[in-house]
């Protein structure tokens, strides 16, 4: 929802953003692989003030049975926000926004997961947003990839995600909540860096064709930063001190 009038200065004369970042600087990102005992794979991400927990189950039997596919396994994703995750209490029932985000995250992960190896089964990805602060779908997608890898599910690549956008007529990396509300454009991108494939792409806001190109490039740059942190999280869990 671009162009809302606020007194907030999104970009000052020194090129510093409202939360002190430079235009091409992502927020603080912390990813941890594992953490849940009962899930087959799990991950926790802190992306700025977003705090998101992801648990993966499967491949396992499909219920209801008619959803199963004899040719391939199926991927099911539920993105859910806790009632306490946002300023005003959110109705706990899944909203239309959450259903759509579940769907785009599922479709962003599908190219990465080798589901054809597990016909008649389901892989369930449960995403719980404990605290939200702009860019939850990217943070959730990045964490979901780590959780799938943690579950030992064969993957072609991990999907890393980061948003780019436009605020104060400048293309910026990793749009925060204030910039999303008062800025001019928000473009979440999910990207498989090794395969060079974009698997999630959305845009709200007006961009010229030149800005559009710059925005996609900026977002991919952010994804590559996230990708390194995803790999680091997994090496830390499985190789102890983080060395390869």
């Amino acid at each position: 929802m671009g162009g809302r009038d606020t007194a907030l200065v999104l970009l000052d004369e020194n090129g510093i953003r409202c939360d002190g970042r430079k235009v091409d600087e992502p927020r603080r990102i912390m990813i941890k692989a594992g953490g849940l005992k009962n899930a087959d794979g799990s991950a926790y991400i802190e992306f700025g003030d977003n705090k998101i927990l992801v648990g993966v189950f499967g491949p396992r039997d499909v219920h209801p049975k008619h959803m199963s596919n004899t040719d391939t396994g199926i991927l099911r994703v539920r993105y859910h926000m806790e009632p306490f995750s946002v300023t005003e209490r959110k109705n706990p029932a899944p909203s239309r926004r959450e259903i759509e985000i579940s769907k785009v995250i599922k479709e962003a992960l599908e190219p990465a997961v080798m589901l054809d190896k597990f016909p008649r089964t389901a892989v369930d990805v449960f995403i719980e947003v404990l605290q939200a602060d702009g860019g939850t779908r990217c943070a959730a997608l990045s964490a979901a990839s780590v959780a799938l890898a943690d579950a030992g599910i064969p993957m072609r690549d991990m999907v890393a995600a980061c948003a780019a956008g436009k605020a104060a007529d400048t293309i910026i990396l990793d749009v925060n909540n204030e910039e999303d509300q008062a800025g001019q454009a928000d473009m979440p991108i999910g990207y498989m860096p090794s395969l060079e494939k974009i698997t999630l792409l959305q845009l709200d806001g007006v961009l010229t064709p030149a800005e559009y190109k710059k925005c996609v490039e900026t977002g991919i740059h952010g994804c590559k930063i996230v990708y390194e942190l995803q790999k680091k999280a997994l090496t830390e869990k499985y190789f102890g001190n983080g060395e390869k």
Partner: protein, 272 residues
């Protein structure tokens, strides 16, 4: 639709084989949308309406305009809401009941394209600040299905809004009251046009029909405004796009979109 039927698999094979020769199943060029028929003011009881047929996909959109309470944080702006629904008569596989993820995505993508382009100048739709504003509700119903409902619904909603006349209200004793003879056009700043492209193998095709829709690896819907800027985008489907493909799709959407924008303008002129 969890398992693809044998016929769908065969069709996909045929579609891909044709694409390798540079052809499509219905003889179109790869960047050619289907025939677009726009009938304006199809529902006279609505404040604006359109019946749009894109190939064999058909959508009726009616616009209702009525006073409403503003959103708590948007007291100086009118309300715009766009929905989409698949009627059971549109396809044998459509069942009644609450909308599934596909239909929810459809409605939200169509809404977003129009909203993010700032097509309607909502600041002009205020009756009294923070108290009462004008709400514009564009409801799409799909009556016939042959792929690419994103564009069919977007064109129907855009054409219906262009044709809409808004009544005038004034506050009297704290109640919005209709002013007779105060009708005017809905304040429009730009004409958004969405262009949906499918990816089959390594080919990008504009406006996939039903068979092509079932064969796609991924799709991308890009909305452009009258200035040729890109204002909304949604990738869907369980495949991916390369950076070059995404940029190419942006260029196609501007080029194809400008032609469709002329058709929407013509339909508006013809309807008056």
């Amino acid at each position: 639709m969890t398992s693809t039927s044998v016929i769908d698999e065969l069709k996909k094979f045929q579609i891909l084989e044709l694409l390798e020769q540079g052809k499509r199943v219905d003889g179109r060029a790869l960047d050619e949308p289907r025939k677009l028929i726009i009938e304006i003011n199809a529902i006279p009881k609505a404040n604006g309406s359109a019946r749009v047929r894109l190939g064999d996909s058909e959508v009726v959109c009616g616009v209702k305009i009525q006073p409403d309470r503003p959103f708590p944080d948007m007291g100086e702006k009118g309300i715009f809401i766009c929905t989409a629904e698949l009627l059971p008569l549109s396809h044998p596989s459509v069942e009644t009941g609450p909308p599934g993820p596909d239909v929810i995505e459809l409605a939200r993508v169509v809404d977003r394209g129009i909203r993010e382009s700032h097509m309607i100048d909502l600041s002009q739709l205020v009756i009294e600040k923070n108290k009462s504003v004008v709400g514009v509700f564009a409801d799409n119903v799909v009556v016939d299905y042959d792929g690419n409902l994103f564009d069919a619904c977007a064109y129907a909603a855009t054409a219906a809004i262009l044709s809409s006349k808004t009544p005038k209200w004034e506050m009297k004793n704290d109640v919005p009251t209709l002013v007779e003879g105060g009708e005017s056009s809905v304040p429009v700043t730009t004409i958004p046009v969405s262009v949906t492209m499918g990816k089959i193998g390594n080919y990008i095709i504009v406006d996939p029909n039903g068979d092509e829709w079932n064969s796609m690896d991924a799709r991308i819907t890009i909305t452009t405004d009258s200035n040729g800027n890109i204002c909304a985008l949604q990738k869907g489907g369980n495949g991916g796009f390369s950076f070059d493909e995404v940029i190419k799709c942006g260029e196609i959407s501007v080029k194809v979109g400008s032609k469709i924008r002329e058709k929407l303008k013509q339909a508006k002129e013809g309807g008056q």
